[in-house]
């Protein structure tokens, strides 16, 4: 069941109507049943994994909370993390590592029979394992107490708006909202409805329409010139943003309607001027997770420059690998790590620092444009079918630009048409520094945006029902 389907809309209407009639505890039961139904509608067989993950982490956290023996606590932490990482490793990375070991052995001339399993990737596994791992680590660190209520914990893990594509929520944010009665305010309903409408716009109008432009460049058999690689990469940059930010907004919107506040997951990521800022604005729930549970435990920026660079690189490579078992994701992680290192180094050079952090119009525009193109180049690596494909596209980009071959009606016009309304609304939001400014605008302005969003989505949206890109992660 995807958000952009009538199945989901009816599902949500029914769940919401019943939800509003129930008191707190039955509401949680309803959320659990609805969430399991939502997840089971993909493939009911994987519900077992979700339930197992819930029970193991609930029990480990409870035992951690009660225990005062450091050794026992470490053992419990390892048990929980080991379980979650084993799930991820088996379902997501088994074939990747088996295939690559096979290649290595072959190249060394060693004969070895590797088992390759037809393992199906359970949807959302990267998200919910990260959610439960962060919970157990927080309990281990005694940053939060373990919940004693299995129902609350099961709802926290399976809560359907964030279950399959995030945001990756922390227990400190969501559990208190689940365990205490919720009051739905008028503002929450208004903001929630706007977020849902805006999320659908981002997905159906922006992302799904731009997918055709991106596919023209990245699909097998395409031999685009440099200028069209550039346009296709821009298209993919906005496609993946519209897709994922759209999902996050629908998730936030539906949650608001139920009186639950989720994290902002995106905050104008393409308006930033440094790599550090990009990761503060893009997939915020993942980048903060990586920061808190990987980068800082590795030592963060506390040690020498070399150590910091190493930590950045490890964090970003693992972050890249989190997106999927493919070398392009590893490469993308390396690229992002190097970008962070480069910007960190640039910040120490006075002239470059003045340029990156400068407030003059020229410095702002040029440093933004440079960072935007660095980001887009990252998306080229991310979207390429293989490392060789990324190399071929890069060659076309840098050595066969050929501006005269620009695909005006196939790429340029749709790119402008489908990104302009998005950027216009983001411009207003960025001006007020508020992602929820639209429902707070004057009635005239507000209705203008509502009407345009409605007409553009209905008249020009792509209703092919494409799944969200981040479901595969």
């Amino acid at each position: 069941m995807v958000f952009n389907s009538l199945h989901f809309i009816w599902f949500f209407i029914v769940v919401y109507a019943v939800y509003r009639m129930l008191p707190h505890r039955p509401q949680n039961w309803l959320l659990l049943v609805a969430s399991y139904y939502f997840y089971g509608s993909w493939d009911w067989r994987f519900l077992g994994l979700l339930v197992a993950s819930t029970i193991v982490d609930f029990s480990c956290a409870l035992a951690l909370d009660r225990s005062h023996s450091p050794r026992r606590r470490r053992m419990l932490l390892c048990l929980s993390l080991g379980f979650n990482l084993a799930l991820l490793g088996f379902f997501k990375y088994f074939n990747f590592f088996a295939d690559n070991l096979h290649v290595v052995f072959d190249s060394l001339g060693w004969q070895a029979d590797f088992v390759t399993l037809r393992v199906l990737l359970p949807i959302g596994i990267s998200f919910y394992t990260f959610v439960t791992m962060s919970y157990v680590i927080d309990v281990y660190r005694r940053e939060i107490p373990a919940t004693r209520d299995l129902l609350d914990f099961a709802v926290f893990v399976a809560y359907f708006p964030h279950l399959v594509a995030g945001p990756i929520l922390r227990a400190s944010l969501l559990l208190p909202q689940i365990s205490t009665p919720r009051i739905v305010t008028r503002e929450q309903v208004r903001d929630g409805l706007w977020l849902i409408a805006w999320g659908f716009f981002q997905k159906i109008f922006v992302a799904d329409n731009l997918a055709a432009v991106a596919n023209m460049v990245f699909d097998p058999g395409a031999h685009p010139t440099g200028i069209n690689v550039l346009l296709g990469t821009y298209a993919f940059a906005f496609q993946i943003y519209g897709d994922f930010a759209g999902y996050s907004n629908v998730a936030r919107g539906t949650s608001k309607l139920m009186g639950i506040e989720l994290l902002e997951n995106f905050r104008f990521p393409y308006f930033v001027r440094t790599a550090q800022d990009f990761w503060r604005h893009w997939h915020i729930s993942l980048s903060t997770w990586l920061r808190d549970y990987l980068y800082i435990p590795l030592g963060g920026s506390r040690g020498s420059g070399g150590r910091t660079r190493r930590n950045l690189l490890i964090t970003m490579v693992l972050g890249g690998l989190w997106h999927g078992a493919a070398w392009t994701f590893v490469l993308w992680g390396v690229y992002q790590g190097l970008l962070l290192i480069a910007y960190r180094a640039a910040g120490r050079v006075r002239a470059l620092h003045l340029w990156i952090a400068g407030s003059g119009a020229l410095a702002r525009v040029t440093s933004w444009a440079v960072m935007f193109h660095f980001t887009c180049y990252g998306w080229l690596i991310f979207r390429a079918r293989s490392a060789e494909h990324a190399g071929a596209l890069s060659r076309a980009l840098f050595t066969g630009f050929d501006p005269a071959s620009v695909a005006i009606s196939g790429a340029l016009a749709p790119l402008l048409l489908y990104t302009a309304p998005l950027l216009l609304v983001h411009g207003i939001e960025a001006y007020y520094d508020d992602l929820l400014v639209v429902p707070r605008l004057s009635p005239g302005m507000r209705y203008c945006v509502y009407a345009a969003t409605f007409y553009l989505t209905m008249l020009f949206g792509n209703y092919g029902g494409a799944a969200f890109i981040y479901f595969q992660f």
């Binding site: 009538l6 199945h7 009816w10 009635p443 005239g444 209705y447 203008c448 509502y450 009407a451 345009a452 409605f454 007409y455 209905m458 008249l459 949206g461 209703y463 029902g465």
Partner: protein, 376 residues
């Protein structure tokens, strides 16, 4: 205080209405200007109101119709049919074939010279024959069997046909017949049903005239069509193909039979013979299309029979005094090559017209319709 609040709410509602209305107008203008659709005013200029039929092609209208797939010049002659030339007095050795039908006959997607009617005329005139043939394309976008009978009545005397070819589109003509049945008894119905139907027809016309409303209607139809328990049986155009068709399909087939019998009778009294052609829908020939639609119908709990509508029309017309021609086998037998139908519309490509023209010529010969009638 309370009245202040309600006044504020009314003001907001008015602002909201005005803004939605203004943007509606803006998008309507934009779509009409750049949308290249049949709802565009330039295309609508091809039609004029008609008190009996509802609308007809406008005599003397000319336009260039351009979409992403084709770019066609369209001329309507003084008789109100698509033709580059007028229909003059019938010559002694001239034989006229009147092709009646809907958009598949009118064929705005291809130049006039490439329509199957015109190709048929050229083929017949190229063969050794004592006659000169004139094929008259009397297809009108959106017509169903009832409108086609009424157009025949309006044109019959003027064009003096020897052969009338009633071209039925099996995909939706049963539905269209039900929707227009009241025209057969115009003025005699005063029931609430008739009023409701008139309102529905007017609403449909309003929607058809607005591009924004048309798109919204399609969005809603496709969304509800994809959603199993909201849609029930498949969408109207596919109803004729459903394994278990709705009762209105049987009703539509009965009306079609009645219309065809009436046409045969009236044509006969004017000295013309009648034939019926059953034009298939694209998915009957396009496997990918068929697979997609079959899945959609299955999802909605129905079963799509690929040639179900053709079989139903055949059965409904069995025993009538007109030979029935099904071009489907001929279209299926063509060797691989360019598509017979356009991708973005469900109409014939130039190659499709060529195939139909050849098959139709063979049919006219086989059935002896081209032979002079005995005793004349």
């Amino acid at each position: 205080m309370a009245s202040d609040l309600s006044r504020r709410r009314i003001r907001r509602a008015a602002i909201c209405l005005v803004i939605f209305g203004a943007q509606f107008g803006m998008f309507e203008v934009a779509l009409r200007t750049w949308g290249s659709s049949e709802a565009a005013p330039s295309f609508q200029g091809l039609f004029t109101d008609d008190p009996a039929i509802g609308y007809r092609l406008k005599p003397g209208a000319r336009l260039r119709f351009t979409t992403a797939e084709f770019d066609t010049d369209i001329s309507i002659n003084r008789a109100g049919v698509r033709d580059d030339d007028d229909i003059n007095t019938k010559a002694e050795n001239e034989r006229r074939i009147l092709l009646i039908g809907d958009s598949l006959v009118l064929a705005v997607q291809v130049p006039f010279q490439q329509t199957f009617g015109e190709l048929l005329e050229r083929r017949l005139n190229a063969a050794a024959s004592p006659y000169t043939y004139r094929v008259i394309n009397a297809g009108v976008q959106g017509y169903g069997p009832v409108e086609e009978l009424l157009l025949f009545r309006a044109l019959g005397r003027q064009v003096q046909p020897d052969i009338v070819v009633e071209t039925l589109f099996v995909g939706n003509d049963a539905e269209e017949a039900v929707a227009s049945a009241h025209r057969l008894t115009a003025g005699s119905r005063r029931s609430r049903d008739a009023i409701r139907e008139t309102v529905a027809i007017r609403m449909r016309r309003v929607v058809r005239r607005s591009m924004v409303l048309q798109v919204l209607r399609l969005r809603i139809a496709s969304a509800t069509g994809r959603f199993a328990w909201a849609s029930g049986p498949p969408e109207p155009p596919l109803q004729s193909y459903a394994a278990v068709a709705a009762p209105r399909i049987a009703e539509g087939l009965a009306i079609t039979r009645q219309v065809v019998d009436q046409m045969i009778l009236e044509a006969d009294s004017a000295g013309a013979r009648t034939a019926v052609v059953l034009m298939p829908a694209r998915f009957q020939l396009d496997d990918a299309d068929y697979g997609r639609l079959r899945a959609a119908v299955a999802e909605a709990g129905g079963e799509l029979m690929r040639d179900g509508a053709t079989a139903r029309f055949r059965e409904a017309l069995a025993g009538s005094n007109a030979p029935v021609f099904d071009p489907l086998p001929a279209m299926r037998a063509v060797p691989p090559g360019p598509d017979l139908f356009f991708q973005q519309t469900v109409h014939l490509t130039p190659r499709g017209h060529e195939v139909v023209a050849t098959a139709l010529e063979g049919f006219l010969h086989r059935t002896g319709l081209l032979d002079p009638p005995a005793g004349r």
